[in-house]
Structure formats: structure tokens, C-alpha cells
């Protein structure tokens, strides 16, 4: 007997030809061909695809370390809810930890472990919207404080937002199967890091959370969306000493009949910080493309772009890979999918 692999456990080699021992001794001299023939036969039987190989495999067939990935899938069907070994970079390591993983399901530990194991992603962030809820008598009112009134959706007690580098459509089904505390709202933010040429996925990749709202079957814009673009000027540059520059800049966004003054916020104040120009797109009349195009055209007239924020309605399509945002040099892009079907895309300075 010999150990095939030095795991000090089970792998014992039963492959041994007894042809010569079984046949009478004179066969070796008189009929060497028949001995070679039968040994060839047993060698054939012991090859991996034949039953001899299979029998030998029985010894270690449930050994995580030794069995083939094909057999490992059967073990995974028993203790891993049927997930395929091909999903993992280190399936044997994952298999060893499934028991622990199931015992801690619903915890932060399991959430981070889920992304580590299934997506090799160590950079997710869990956000609890309940921490941003406005509390009467405790929270300050105003945008700077960042509190949100409970909305029966994301902003309520039973809510989790996962911020990761992957769209929710890639991981939602698995998350719900392995981790998600049933009864909680699940939201997601996608962090897309890129530069120069951003490539956004297809609509399917940005699938909305719920089938009933998933109306986009093809990639197209319907422009029912809101948007905001923010540019930064040097201090006082918007109005003084060159108010014309600001006005020109603002008017450059104007498409007669489509946008109103009320949608443009040009900030000027007495501090020494750079000024902010926000351009809001009307929800219906002014399309995302148009807004982007206008910004592109005026890109060089503005000191620095802080980014943009686009928001689709629940019946709107998502952002597609036909979109080109290459003129924006902010490297952080976040696509946020709400359970109401609303998709928001942020480009911001970080």
C-alpha cells in the first residue's frame, strides 16, 4: 500500500495487478503475451474513466481535499444549497466553512463572508438607513445634517443597503438564499471605478430589484428622468467680478423651451470656497442625453466638475453601455437601485 497524497488520511492505493501471481508460473515463460494482454486489460480498467478508477476513487470520494471538483459538486449539493464549485476561487476552503457560514447567517459577519466567498470581494460596505432616520426632538432639520424622514421603503428600521462593486442583479438571488434576513428591505449601491472611458453595463445587468417593475426589455432611453449636474467655479467667479461668465455658463445649459431659470442654482456667497453651479433637469421635458451633451460642450469653461447625479423613474430604463461619460474625470460612479424601481447614478469627487 502506498499513500498517493500525503494527507495522512485516507488515500490508499489499491491499484495492483495480480495477473502474474494468479496465473501459473510457467505462463510467464510460455505465454508472456497473455500476461501482457491481461495486464493491459487491468491497466485499462484502472484508468480514471473506467470502473476500476471509480472504485479507487470511492475511498476519497467525500474527502474535500482529494475528491475531484465534479464530485465536490455533489457534496456542495448536500451542504452548500447546491451552489457549484465553479463559483468559488477556493471551493474546498469554502466547503469547510459552510457550517459556520450558515450558523451566522443574517449577521454582518455573514454578509461580508458572503461577498468574500462568492465574489472574492472584500470591499463591500453595509449601510443601515435606520441610522439616518430623522428623529423628532433629536435630529436637526436641514440638508447638511443628512437625516431622512421615514419613507416606508429604504428609510425605515427593517432596511439594509449593500454597497459593492457589483450590480444587485448579480448577487440578489444568492444573497436572499444564503444571508438575507427575511422581512428586511434590501437595497444596493454599485460602486463603479473607472477613468477616461467608462463602460456601463447593459440594462439587464442593471436589472431592477423586482420583476413587477422590470419593464425594460431593451436598451433605450425614454428620458423620463431627473438629473443634476454640479460644477465648481473659483470663489466668486460665478457673479463677481465676472457675472457675465456665470450667466454665459448658465445660459449654455439652456435649451429654449426646455429649461427654466428655476432649475438652475448658481451659488455665490461670501466665503472663500469655490462656488457651485447646479443644473437641474426637469423631470419630463429635458433628457439625460441632452444634459450630458450640454455639459460636455461646456466642459472646459468650468473650473472643475464635481460630478453628476441622474435619477430615473420607476418605469424608466437604466443607463446603458451606449452612454458615454468619458469627459468626466471623477473616478467614482455609484449606481443605486431602489426597491421602488428607481435607479440613480452618481458621479462624484471623492
Amino acid at each position: 500500500m502506498e499513500t498517493l497524497k500525503d494527507y495522512n488520511r485516507l488515500a490508499i492505493n489499491f491499484r495492483k495487478s495480480y495477473v502474474q501471481e494468479v496465473l501459473p508460473e510457467y505462463f510467464q515463460e510460455s505465454y508472456p503475451a497473455i500476461i501482457s494482454f491481461l495486464e493491459g486489460y487491468y491497466e485499462y480498467l484502472d484508468s480514471d474513466e473506467q470502473w476500476g478508477g471509480g472504485l479507487n476513487e470511492l475511498i476519497t470520494i467525500r474527502d474535500f481535499e482529494d475528491t475531484t471538483l465534479e464530485r465536490l459538486n455533489f457534496v456542495l449539493s448536500e451542504i452548500g444549497l447546491g451552489v457549484s464549485s465553479g463559483r468559488f476561487t477556493f471551493p474546498r476552503e469554502v466547503l469547510r466553512n459552510f457550517g459556520n457560514f450558515f450558523r451566522v447567517k443574517g449577521s454582518e459577519y455573514s454578509a461580508y463572508g458572503f461577498f468574500r466567498a462568492f465574489f472574492n470581494d472584500n470591499d463591500i460596505e453595509l449601510i443601515y438607513p435606520k441610522e439616518s432616520l430623522f428623529r423628532v426632538g433629536q435630529s436637526l432639520i436641514g440638508p447638511d445634517d443628512g437625516y431622512t424622514i421615514q419613507d416606508g421603503g429604504i428609510y425605515q428600521i427593517f432596511s439594509i443597503i449593500v454597497k459593492s462593486g457589483k450590480p444587485i442583479s448579480e448577487w440578489e438571488a444568492l444573497w436572499r438564499k444564503y444571508v438575507h434576513p427575511s422581512g428586511f428591505h434590501l437595497g444596493a449601491e454599485v460602486l463603479i471605478i473607472g477613468k477616461d472611458q467608462l463602460s456601463f453595463g447593459t440594462a439587464d445587468e442593471f436589472a431592477l430589484v423586482y420583476d413587477p417593475y422590470k419593464v425594460h426589455s431593451s436598451v433605450q432611453y425614454n428620458y423620463v428622468a431627473e438629473g443634476e449636474i454640479t460644477g465648481l467655479y473659483q470663489d466668486n467667479e460665478l457673479y463677481a467680478p465676472e457675472p457675465v461668465k456665470a450667466q454665459t455658463a448658465i445660459w449654455s445649459y439652456m435649451i429654449p423651451g426646455y429649461i427654466q431659470w428655476g432649475y438652475v442654482l448658481a451659488e455665490d456667497d461670501e466665503d472663500k470656497a469655490r462656488e457651485r453651479l447646479d443644473v437641474y433637469k426637469t423631470p419630463v421635458a429635458y433628457g439625460i442625453n441632452a444634459t450630458i451633451n450640454q455639459v460636455t460642450a461646456n466642459y472646459n469653461t468650468i473650473d472643475e466638475w464635481a460630478g453628476f447625479h441622474l435619477k430615473t423613474g420607476s418605469s424608466s430604463v437604466n443607463f446603458s453601455n451606449t452612454s458615454s461619460f468619458s469627459t468626466f474625470d471623477q473616478v467614482y460612479h455609484v449606481q443605486y437601485t431602489d426597491s421602488d424601481g428607481e435607479v440613480q447614478l452618481y458621479n462624484y469627487y471623492k
Partner: protein, 613 residues
């Protein structure tokens, strides 16, 4: 369906061909003629040997995994490895009201008690089954000699269980050997087992051990037992190890196990129970009067191999916790034989969204009484969700939604290919479709595929040459004729676009403003109206439908009465795509018999011989 591992190709000819190729590639044999009679015969023998052994190897490999094992013993063994407790036979259970009339009997007592094992008989499909009480019950004289037996909770519904009470006795042997107590009975209902341990063979003093599932704290003095199916099909009684896993009976002690040996599902649906025990009062036997409160249900055979294969892995994943929706499903389906299946979803996936809730819809066996359903729900809450779920998350039970499919089936039929008449064949096809729905579609998530059914109808009888069918999807709603009814119906499909000739939505008839009417969509419109039978408008707008979402919204509907009797309105919708009807999460597809039909179209493949003179 288990996936079978394939250790080698099992086909004889393939084995022989591969063996030949293998040997031909050996340098010492490459000049041999393998087609020659001698070598060919030798190869036949070796290939046959390989074939037989490969079969055995294949069987052995398949038994190594839960998902591919075929033998119950292997499946049981794998499930035990996962810590899964396989359901035994479950005794059918009925509720009866028991009374005793001693009016006029002198010297009657104030209280009368009937003992455990008071028996009753009932017949199902011509077979008699014995039911019995598993506790004693007491009744009090109401003053006029009538005694109504009550549970300790004060209920008049007395549970009785089908089965024969059996007892198995073991004497505990030496402690240095692991004691194995096998109950050689595969009809045991584990939940009825009572385990008493006597201090000696002759002693009448005993300690009662409790099921391990009831354990809260386990130490060396805790008295718990478990009964598990073992690979030989029988059941093994286990105790603690005497240290950390609970008390172990001592050598010389006597273990007495009492349990019900049951016929399982066979005894379900018994409705009339005749007492076979009598109550003796002052030396005279009196017969108990029995009224059935709830017919027998919940009886089940021991868990099937397929069920174990499906549930053991998800029960393992649940780790006896209720976190994910799948955990709820595993716990419910593993512990309640009355539940055929459970659909569970998170409140954030519900419509409308309901955070902090887990939605549970249970599909019961046919004819399960409302009382049994309520008891199951109560048990799920009391025994599981309250203890095991995430704090503050509460379950919400919802009824399965029934969606009916009305089929108009036309099939080409050649009478020459069968001995049946056209009418008989039409009836046979109709019954075949009914059975198809029962067999294939009466579960959550089962998808109707028109082509599959058409294929099966074609194969049902060789006289059926081809089949086509039109499909309508129907949902039903209880109506209160005293109020304006406003409700939505979510059809599990898109609805056909409005047309200028055909109606897409149509209801059953009802009386409205003195005329017989239906709800229909206006032609070329998604607006719903009430029309009389001549299609004259009686109420212009009674709602609308959204063809993309499949939602039919009825607003302010107040009929005088439903013409079919009862209060149910049935609303048919023509699906946009008939090929596939995919139910939503807790929808169950059913066959709408009243509006379905099967029609044979004579299609003679062999012209009859006619002689013209």
C-alpha cells in the same frame, strides 16, 4: 430528480471498443488482429466482465451522495450526517365531541373519566381503522345527567389518533458498551412515543424521559430521548451519554417504550367514529355518544426518499434558525406532514411591500379542515417562529391563490384507430387533462406549458392525430352584494391587447339593474364595463385592466346577485401569450372544468372502401 454520477460508460459495445483501442495502442499488441475470432471472443468476455463490474461501481458511486443515492438506507445515512430528522409515519387525527347520557340514572357520579386508549372505529374505502385517545378526559354532570368530555383546556374537541398502541421493553446492559435499543417497527409514529425508565426489572417506580426536541437545557441529569430511523428501516431509541448529552439509563434498569403503530395516510378522511369502549357506571356499561367535529386528517406515510433528499440540505442550511425565506420553508415542510409544501417570501418582496413580515402560504392536502389548518399555523408560530426567527420579524399567513385555466381543446381524431366512440374519446381526453393538472400543476411554482400538454394528449391515444387549444386564465373573487366592491386581481400573465372584435376580459353572469349582465372590456379599450347579454352598456366604467402587469382592477361593482348562486364572480382573461402560464409565488394552477371542453374533429387517415356499381 437526482442527478446520477457516471463513473464510466456502461454500454457493452462502447466498453469493448474502448478496450480494443486501448490495447491496440500498446506497442506489444499493435500488430494483433483484434477482429479475429479468438481475440474477439476474449475481448467479449473481458468487456462483459467490465460491463458488470462497471455497473456495480456506478451503483456504489451513486450511493455515496445524498442527491444521487437510490437506496433508502443510503439516503437515511446521508441525512443523518446532516443532522436531519426524518419524519416517521404520522397517525391520522380527528376531533370528536364525546358525551354520555345518564339521565335518570340513580347514584350517578359528579365526574366521569374515560381513560387513555378509549377506542373508536371508522371506515375509509371499506377498510376499518381504529382510533384512540392518547390522554384521559373528564366530564362533569351538567345537573340533568349529561356529561360532555373536555380537554384540560376546556375544549369539547377531543383528539383521537389512528393506530394500535404497542409496547417495547429493553433491559439496560453494561455501560461500557454502547447500548442500542432498536424498535423493529417501521410503522411507528415517533411523535406518540412515551418512554419510561424503571429502576429495575420488577420495580413500578419509573422516570419519564422527554423527547430531545423539547430540551432547553441539557446536562448530565437531563432525561431526554430521541428516536431516529436507521439504515435498516427500523428505529433506534437513543439517550444521552450520561455526561454532557443527558442522562443515560443505568445497567439493570428497564426501558418501556409505548407508541402508536399507524397506517398513516390511509386513515385520512374518516368521518364517522363508532366507540368500541364503554363507560362503566355503578356496574353497568354505557355507550359514549360521538359527534365528529373534524374528520381525520394529517396522517402521513414516512417521509419519502425524494422529500428527504430535497429537505435535508436546506434543513442543514437553516441550522434550526429562521433567517432566510428558505429556512422557513425547510422547517415547516420538515415538521408538518399536513403541509404538502410551503411558499415563503420576505415582506420586502410582497405586493404591497410589508417590512418586518415574512409571508407564508401553505398548500395542504385536499380536504384538510379549517381547524387543522389553524392548528398547524398556531404550531408554526408557537413552536418555531416565536423561538427561532429574527427578533421582531413576524410571520403572516396568506392563503394560496388559485388560478384556473379554461381550455378549449380541439383534436384531430381517427375513429378507425380506436375502438372508442368520439364521445368516449372526448371524455377520456377531458379526464386526462384533469389528471394532468392534478399530477403536474397542483403545486406552487408549477408552470403550465401548452406544448407539453398538447404533446401528452397526442401520446394519450394513437387515434389522436394532433391537438390545438385555446386558453383563458380565470381568477375568482367573493362578492358582497350589499356594498360597492373594489378589488384587484393579479393575473400571472400579460393579458392580450384590446381588440376591436374580441373581448379580452369577461366575467360570469350576474344580475344588475334587473338584467343579466357580464363585466367585459370595451372593444379596443382597457376600460371595463357592465354589459347585458345583448352587449348593451349598463354601467360604462367598472374598472380597467393593465395588460402588461396582468392586473384587473374592479371599482364600485355592486351586482344584485350572482346568477350561478353563491357570491363568487369568475373573471376570465385572454393571455397575451398562451404558450406558458407561469404562476406567481403562491399561485396554484387548476383546471377550470366548467368552462373547458374537448372536441374531436374527425380526421380519417384511411379512406373507407366504397364500391360503385
Amino acid at each position: 430528480m437526482a442527478t446520477t454520477t457516471k463513473s464510466s460508460d456502461l454500454d457493452f459495445d462502447t466498453i469493448k471498443a474502448r478496450l480494443k483501442d486501448h490495447l491496440k495502442n500498446q506497442p506489444q499488441f499493435n500488430a494483433y488482429n483484434f477482429e479475429g475470432a479468438g481475440l474477439s471472443n476474449l475481448l467479449d468476455v473481458l468487456a462483459y466482465n467490465s460491463h458488470i463490474n462497471a455497473l456495480n461501481a456506478n451503483f456504489a458511486l451513486n450511493e455515496a451522495f445524498l442527491s444521487t443515492a437510490q437506496l433508502r438506507s443510503s439516503v437515511v445515512s446521508h441525512a443523518q450526517t446532516l443532522g436531519y430528522e426524518i419524519r416517521s409515519v404520522t397517525a391520522s387525527r380527528a376531533l370528536v365531541n364525546l358525551t354520555l347520557n345518564l339521565t335518570g340514572v340513580a347514584g350517578r357520579p359528579v365526574n366521569i373519566t374515560i381513560p387513555r386508549n378509549t377506542t373508536f372505529t371508522s371506515s375509509v374505502d371499506g377498510i376499518t381503522y381504529t382510533f384512540r385517545t392518547l390522554e384521559q378526559y373528564t366530564a362533569r354532570d351538567n345537573g340533568s345527567g349529561t356529561y360532555a368530555f373536555l380537554t384540560t383546556g376546556g375544549s369539547a374537541d377531543i383528539p383521537i389518533f389512528e393506530g394500535v398502541e404497542k409496547t417495547k421493553t429493553f433491559i439496560v446492559g453494561q455501560k461500557d458498551e454502547r447500548q442500542i435499543y432498536v424498535i423493529p417497527d417501521d410503522t411507528i409514529d415517533k411523535s406518540t412515543a412515551v418512554v419510561r425508565v424503571y429502576s429495575s426489572v420488577t420495580s413500578s417506580d419509573y422516570s419519564t424521559y422527554l423527547p430531545l426536541s423539547q430540551a432547553v437545557i441539557i446536562d448530565e441529569t437531563a432525561k431526554f430521548f430521541s428516536i431516529n430511523e436507521v439504515p435498516n428501516g427500523y428505529y433506534e431509541l437513543n439517550f444521552g451519554d450520561g455526561t454532557s448529552f443527558g442522562k443515560s439509563p443505568e445497567p439493570g434498569e428497564k426501558i418501556v417504550v409505548t407508541y402508536l403503530s399507524s397506517k398513516g395516510a390511509n386513515a385520512n378522511n374518516a368521518t364517522v367514529f363508532n366507540p368500541t369502549s364503554q363507560v362503566r357506571v355503578n356496574g353497568i356499561d354505557y355507550v359514549i355518544s360521538t359527534v365528529t367535529s373534524s374528520e381525520s386528517t394529517g396522517g402521513a406515510d414516512r417521509q419519502s426518499i425524494e422529500s428527504v433528499k430535497q429537505l435535508a440540505p436546506i434543513a442543514y442550511a437553516s441550522q434550526k434558525r429562521l433567517v432566510t425565506s428558505l429556512d422557513y420553508k425547510a422547517i415547516i415542510e420538515s415538521n408538518f406532514s399536513q403541509v404538502r409544501e410551503a411558499a415563503v417570501w420576505s415582506g420586502d418582496q410582497n405586493i404591497p411591500i410589508d417590512y418586518g413580515r415574512v409571508y407564508i402560504s401553505l398548500n395542504y392536502a385536499a380536504n384538510t379542515p379549517a381547524a387543522t389548518k389553524q392548528a398547524v399555523q398556531d404550531a408554526i408560530v408557537n413552536n418555531f417562529t416565536t423561538n427561532l426567527s429574527v427578533m421582531s420579524i413576524k410571520p403572516k399567513f396568506v392563503e394560496p391563490e388559485e388560478v384556473f385555466l379554461a381550455l378549449t381543446v380541439n383534436f384531430n381524431f381517427d375513429p378507425a384507430l380506436t375502438g372508442n366512440t368520439t364521445a368516449t374519446t372526448e371524455d377520456n381526453v377531458f379526464n386526462f387533462i384533469d389528471n394532468y393538472f392534478t399530477t403536474n400543476l397542483s403545486t406552487f411554482g408549477a408552470v403550465f406549458r401548452k406544448s407539453n400538454l398538447a404533446t401528452e394528449i397526442d401520446a394519450f391515444d394513437e387515434s389522436i392525430l394532433s391537438t390545438r387549444m385555446d386558453i383563458k386564465v380565470q381568477m375568482r373573487k367573493e362578492i358582497d352584494t350589499a356594498i360597492n366592491n373594489t378589488f384587484d386581481l393579479d393575473f400571472p400573465c400579460q393579458i392580450a391587447e384590446a381588440d376591436d372584435v374580441f373581448y379580452r376580459i369577461q366575467s360570469t353572469t350576474f344580475e344588475f339593474k334587473g338584467q343579466i349582465c357580464r363585466i367585459k372590456n370595451r372593444l379596443n379599450s382597457n376600460t371595463l364595463s357592465i354589459l347585458n347579454l345583448a352587449d348593451a352598456v349598463m354601467q360604462d366604467n367598472v374598472g380597467s385592466y393593465n395588460r402588461l402587469t396582468g392586473k384587473v382592477s374592479i371599482v364600485g361593482f355592486k351586482p344584485t346577485r350572482m346568477t350561478s348562486g353563491g357570491n363568487t364572480i369568475r373573471i376570465d382573461a385572454v393571455p397575451a401569450i398562451e404558450g406558458t402560464i407561469k404562476p406567481l409565488r403562491n399561485y396554484i394552477l387548476k383546471f377550470e372544468k366548467d368552462e373547458s371542453s374537448t372536441n374531436a374533429i374527425i380526421d380519417r387517415q384511411t379512406p373507407s372502401l366504397e364500391i360503385t356499381i
